[in-house]
Symmetry: C2
Subunit: 251 residues, 2 copies
DNA sequence: CCAAAAATTTAGGCACAACTAAAAAATTGT
DNA sequence: ACAATTTTTTAGTTGTGCCTAAATTTTTGG
């Protein structure tokens, strides 16, 4: 009663939440998609010597044709150098953007796991989305609130410029005892799998055997023994610390 | 060194982060924009008796033409009932969506202010964006982690179905002493302003005077005295608890 | 009550970013 | 070395959601 009257009202959606019009793209042409592509190229560059249109298409789950169009835009924005029919390489600007996004991504994962108690194998997707919307300042505050963590819950460095140390579990030889450092493949199904077998960061495992043609690695975790395929998507995305070549295996 | 070799790689962007194609919209046609519009209609319905295309256009800072197109889509999705040239009304489905979004929004604001220590007058915009990306489960976890707060930092109920109590500061009369309950206008500039004069939720203020034509209200906050325009966008969006008509003012 | 003003809708167009299909370039195999 | 295959690019289409301009409906005022 006498509550709803006036016509003029100040309620407004924040400009940042308003759907974009053609004009808005002129002002800030770096869209969420462009960011996602840029970060994708960074991640792929960490795994591959050269990144091609097809690699990005696989990463983004889209057609090569779509990638070509995007690469044109990214190139115009100075994020990548693209030589048609050759490959892509991030520019300094593109690299800086990726590093910033990875920092936000990994700090968000820390927040989601450490403070909000969300499942370790589940937070990657959400962080992937949220990373585009938080500012450096918000990231700073997350870091402060959590006591300045240095890695995400999967062991990856919050500061992506940290030099790579350790090596892949797939490069280990029988007889070695190593400690899991990080998991670079963060697909939920994969993380759920390695969680159930107990391959979490900081776990110590002993490499037991490796099949003749080098396809399967057997590792001992705690009391049990597990077999893993060697390849980019399993033992290759699990990184470890530990002695490189134990005496027993020197020729 | 033997680090980058393989071609086949498992790295994939999560489906939820991939830019949408035409096909994707068929599967989940409720876009972020649709959500933002729906929530907007809810907010406007709380302030106005009837909500028209123009009201929404002001709220979204876009043209009425754009609103008409969106209302068509929202109507097709069963979120609103729209009678052309008349007005809009949320359906139960639209209301449920709004209530869910408001809960996420306000819990996010709690997280941003209480845990991440972000400025009180600054978190609304960010929460407005993030609310579209978190699930009910994430919202539940935020609530748990923060000890089940019942209002956002601006005093608005996390459960939007909470019956409205209290009244507007603009409806108070000289002589009353009231306690600020909530601020419904969350534009940063406005919040910054009322923060500097100390009009935060839970503050007790005394209404001192009101100009003859009812345009300006003078209130005493702590030691100082402030004048506020009466209208939807200032004293009208500040809600208070307190005795309705103090004895002194009964005719 | 009818004309002027205001609000709303229709019509036509644009940018983003996906898609398919077809053309062009690069790589591979004999 | 040249034909076949693979990879990449070009061309043309779709859907979202904005815009402007014009047409329509509703409201307001003489």
């Amino acid at each position: 009663m006498a509550q709803k009257v006036a016509r003029e009202i100040a309620l407004r959606v924040p400009a940042s939440c308003r759907p974009k019009s053609a004009k808005d793209y002129e002002k800030s042409p770096i869209t969420e998609s462009i960011e996602e592509y840029t970060e994708g190229v960074y991640r792929l560059q960490e795994e591959l010597d050269e990144v091609g249109t097809g690699d990005i298409a696989k990463y983004m789950s889209c057609t090569s044709a779509s990638v070509t169009t995007m690469l044109k835009r990214m190139s115009d924005l100075g994020l990548v150098e693209h030589t048609p029919y050759q490959g892509v390489r991030l520019t300094e600007k593109g690299e800086a953007l990726s590093i910033s996004l990875l920092r936000k991504h990994r700090l968000l994962e820390c927040l989601l796991v450490d403070f909000l108690q969300l499942p370790w194998d589940d937070v990657h997707d959400l962080a992937c989305k949220l990373e585009h919307y938080i500012s450096e300042e918000v990231a700073d505050n997350i870091s402060k609130a959590l006591g300045s963590p240095v890695t995400c819950p999967h062991g990856n460095p919050i500061d992506a410029t940290t030099p790579v140390t350790g090596r892949r579990l797939s490069d280990c030889v029988p007889g070695e005892t190593v400690r899991i450092s990080k998991i670079t493949d963060e697909r939920p199904e994969f993380l759920t799998y390695i969680k159930t077998i107990g391959l979490l960061p900081k776990t110590v495992v002993a490499v037991q055997s490796r099949t003749p043609f080098g396809d399967v690695l057997t590792v001992q975790i705690e009391e049990s023994s597990e077999s893993l395929p060697i390849g980019r998507d399993v033992a290759g995305s699990i990184w470890v610390y530990g002695e490189k070549y134990p005496e027993a295996n020197r020729n």
